[in-house]
Symmetry: C2
Subunit: 218 residues, 2 copies
């Protein structure tokens, strides 16, 4: 019992410290007039594909990407190939989410004036990243419809914290066996305020709605 | 720096304590002559569907399930409806993986002699559960081919720790756009020893290979 209590106290301390550093990040981003999106979702939900499509569509924008991965820089190479103006890799060495301090350090590698929009692609995980503020303007979660209609009520924190929920892989909705009505009903149960966008980051169908949302803000 | 160091030390301490409790669980399971599988994988990879198919196929076995979820007991209801002899729900209240101590307590709810095979369905997460021994005989990871071919090298710990890698959703492989050859090549890079089983927990195709693996051991 004591052990559990200690861990909860330490958990709180870690979150408080993270929130503190996140607010510093937020000030820095505001100073540079940068709109910052924290992109989250399960492994393979299509976060990087959506970034590729976004970069390709917004050719007049200078897009920076901070990539979070356990190991490697596959996704950073992908967004760079897609035309990102700047890309920085964070390797978490096994940790399951990004911390504000890692993002702050990564941001130091981006020179002033080289970007006008910043995406942070978090580690693929539908749980922990939701808890860690990075200083972003908006939390956006990407959900593959292949993950099933029951995810909102099973992973409620992520679905509550994200203001935009992107339902991806709509091109294989029928084959996936997922009921889109049940999925949206479950989303309404946990976050009735969320903006829900259905799209396919592979075919590009529906991506315009996402770009509209983004360009109204950034 | 000091803060990071403290967290690493504490992380080690948590893992050591968990390993200690896991070894107690392992002794208890061995005493009862129970084979125990720790089933892991991303949200929506098809862990519960595979359990449903497994329970339905092995009608002569008394299968117990310990379900790990952030909230709710949807999956416990599903495996009970499928015919599980016993099912116990653990709610982690936001935590992204099961701990050996939670499994130990859950196991106390299963009466002696009521089961002869035990599955622990971990929280949907391709990262953290890999680090936490629960006292199981085998770690099995379920990967949806819809998650993409690059997952083994991006989430190497899970792919290294699991002795069986189940490539699920083979019925929609073509539509998913995933190259099964690339996926298997990436698996070989991180864990050449793994048993790789391709199946569809929806259609049942290939499930016999999983049942064969299981019945050779349990």
């Amino acid at each position: 019992m004591h052990e559990v209590h200690d861990n909860i106290e330490l958990g709180k301390k870690i979150l408080e410290e993270n929130d503190h550093i996140a607010s510093h990040n937020r000030e820095k981003f505001a100073e540079k007039k940068l709109y910052v999106v924290n992109l989250m979702g399960s492994p393979g939900s299509g976060k990087t594909s959506l970034l590729e499509k976004t970069i390709a569509a917004l050719k007049d924008r200078k897009i920076g990407i901070i990539e979070g991965d356990l190991e490697g820089d596959d996704d950073r190479r992908r967004v760079e190939a897609a035309g990102a103006a700047q890309s920085v890799q964070i390797n978490t060495a096994g940790a399951c989410h990004l911390l504000a301090t890692q993002v702050g350090h990564a941001f130091e590698h981006i020179e002033d004036g080289t970007i006008d929009l910043l995406f942070i692609e978090n580690v693929g995980n539908l749980v922990c990243p939701a808890d860690f503020d990075l200083g972003e303007n908006a939390k956006v979660a990407v959900i593959g419809v292949t993950e099933g209609a029951d995810k909102p009520t099973k992973y409620p924190l992520m679905f509550r914290k994200a203001e935009v929920l992107i339902l991806n892989k709509m091109d294989i909705l029928e084959q996936s066996g997922c009921s889109i009505e049940a999925l949206k009903e479950n989303i309404r149960k946990v976050n009735p305020e969320a903006t829900v966008i259905e799209l396919s980051s592979r075919t590009g169908e529906g991506v315009d709605k996402w770009l509209d949302w983004l360009q109204e803000r950034a």
